[in-house]
């Protein structure tokens, strides 16, 4: 599996996708920190991250759209299948490589609250708690993106589908506000809010470290990795 991780990381870093993703995260983290912490003088770094959730809408499709489609296009999937590694290892290897890439800018962003703490009274547990939630939000979205890329052979289709799923997920709380409050005894709007990954993230910048939300992210990630493995296996059977 380490071989797959190394190869995937290499592929992400020899092309432009990895760098674009890192830049994307760093640019927005920089802009928001500048506005919120430096200009407005807020002592809460978590607000910066709270405003940044949307970058995953574009960042995740960028990161995941190639992951499985590229192998199929270049016909390297037959190599992976004929090597003595299991499908689980292939999928996990690719997933972990993307997580490592995602961690790179997040680690850099993680330095910001430390720097800020020299100049003011930053509450670090809230900052790093939110950063962890931010990473897990990304991780669960990556798993969804990975699954989408296992469904198609075309990068663009995978990218656009992933973007759409992200946007719908992002606006679920808004959609929930518009559906009838009494639908299914109020269960429908509640359900929509519950399954929104982004909505769950907003409790963290507000200072509520809700472990159930982190568990939810982890479960979503695991479920979609499982789906991906099954979808790849199915391909061999059809």
């Amino acid at each position: 599996m380490t071989a797959i991780i190394k190869r995937e990381l290499r592929a992400l870093l020899t092309g432009v996708t990895g760098y674009i993703f890192c830049c994307f995260v760093l640019v927005f983290a920089g802009i928001y920190m500048n506005i919120i912490n430096l200009k407005q003088g807020s002592a809460n770094f978590e607000y910066v991250l709270g405003n940044m959730g949307f970058i995953f809408l574009i960042g995740i499709p960028l990161l995941t759209m190639r992951s499985l489609t590229e192998d199929r296009k270049q016909k390297t999937d037959t190599l992976l299948y004929s090597l003595p590694i299991s499908m689980t290892q292939i999928v996990l290897g690719k997933y972990i490589a993307m997580l490592i890439l995602m961690l790179m800018p997040i680690i850099i962003v993680g330095i910001y609250p430390l720097i800020l703490s020299f100049f003011g009274n930053i509450y670090l547990p809230a900052s790093y708690g939110t950063l962890l939630a931010f990473f897990l939000l990304g991780a669960s979205l990556t798993a969804i993106g990975l699954f989408i890329s296992s469904l198609t052979e075309n990068q663009a289709v995978a990218g656009i589908l992933c973007l759409l799923v992200g946007i719908v997920n992002y606006f679920l709380p808004t959609i929930a506000a518009y559906v009838s409050r009494t639908a299914f005894g109020g269960a429908l709007p509640e359900f929509l809010e519950k399954i929104s990954l982004f909505d769950r993230f907003y409790s963290f910048p507000n200072g509520v470290f809700d472990i159930s939300n982190l568990v939810f992210y982890a479960v979503v990630a695991l479920v979609f990795i499982y789906f991906t493995i099954q979808s790849m296996e199915k391909r061999r059977w059809s």
Binding site: A11, T14, T76
Partner: protein
């Protein structure tokens, strides 16, 4: 040692291969022949675990590819029809990746990669990007990849497709060289290639195995008659007269052109008609300028066996072909006899050809 048992693969309604049973013994180069769409690639993909079978089993050195895939896969190296290369890597990086994935020990990777690179002669392009390499070199990188981890069997799917004649010769030489240390299965639809490289031939048609034998065995099986072609300096009438007097010649056609008569004659296989012809023409002082005997070539055998592709066929004929294939496998000599008795179809077909 690969044992394939009643392997069947269906794509929806289409049956790609049906009830394929054969075994691959160690230490031979197997040629896997068949017309396009016969199921060669499908079979190879299943043997290497890239595709799942509808039913049937594949055992590699005793490991079932479906039940213990990791052990089974470590025994084979596979080069698919399109070499599965990462275009944005150099051959060296690519081979290192494959070596790591094949679980070659960390300290042996460099040595193993260097070894396969020198075997396939790609050392001097080792640090160029794969996308910039020529097709022949890409093919070699693909073969190098299959060789890593020293698998007992190497499976090559159409390894010479799209190469220029020089590259084809080089790749064939490489395959023959590898055949000394590995069992090789090589698919192709180029007959001369199989004839040049392989010492066992399997012919597959419409998803069924129709023959599995040595090239000589196949030839013996199919050579009922020898076709002699001669050029004799003399008139057509004189030549016909001589030919008519020789008992061994069962049938002949002749044609005169510029004082030279071109003859195509048929005779039974066992008799030595060449000698009789020589003396017969010498007696009447008609010089034979050229004479050669053509025994059934692999090409004829191939066409004969895969004919049902073009001729409208019935299920019975297919069954006959399958029975025939099994007989071939069992005993070439015995099969030769049964072929005459049980296979009126094949005789008829021969008849129409003449």
């Amino acid at each position: 040692m690969i044992e394939v048992e009643s392997l069947t693969k269906k794509y929806g309604e289409n049956t790609a291969i049906s009830d394929l049973t054969f075994s691959i013994d160690d230490g031979h180069i197997y040629g896997f022949l068949g017309p396009n769409g016969a199921g060669k690639s499908t079979t190879m993909n299943i043997i290497t675990g890239c595709l799942a079978a509808t039913h049937g089993s594949v055992r590699i050195d005793g490991y079932d590819i479906f039940e213990s895939p990791l052990e089974a896969k470590s025994k084979i190296g596979y080069l698919p029809e399109q070499p599965p290369l990462y275009q944005d890597m150099t051959p060296r990086e690519y081979l290192r990746f494959v070596a790591e994935a094949k679980k070659i020990g960390r300290d042996q990777i460099s040595a193993a990669v260097d070894e396969v690179m020198s075997k396939t002669q790609i050392t001097d392009v080792g640090d160029r990007l794969i996308k910039n390499l020529s097709k022949g070199y890409k093919q070699r990188v693909g073969i190098a990849q299959a060789l890593l981890g020293n698998p007992s069997t190497i499976i090559l799917d159409e390894p010479t497709v799209g190469l220029d004649p020089n590259q084809i010769i080089e790749i064939r030489a490489l395959i023959s060289e590898l055949g000394k240390t590995h069992t090789i299965i090589l698919s192709s639809h180029i007959l001369s290639e199989v004839q040049a490289v392989c010492d066992r031939i399997m012919i597959i048609s419409k998803g069924k195995m129709v023959a599995n034998d040595t090239p000589e065995g196949l030839e013996k099986l199919f050579a009922g008659k020898t076709e002699l072609s001669l050029s004799v300096k003399g008139s057509k009438d004189a030549v016909d007269g001589v030919l008519g007097s020789i008992d061994e010649i069962s049938d002949f056609t002749s044609e005169e052109k510029d004082g030279i008569t071109l003859v195509t004659a048929e005779c039974a296989n066992e008799v030595n008609a060449e000698e009789r012809l020589f003396f017969a023409f010498a007696d009447v002082r008609l010089p034979i300028i050229r004479m050669n005997a053509e025994r059934a070539s692999l090409e004829d055998i191939f066409i004969e066996l895969t004919k049902s592709d073009t001729v409208e066929e019935t299920a019975d004929e297919l069954d006959l072909a399958a029975e025939y294939g099994a007989a071939v496998e069992a005993d070439a000599a015995a099969a030769a006899e049964t072929a005459g008795e049980d296979m009126p179809v094949s005789d008829e077909e021969e008849g129409t050809e003449q």
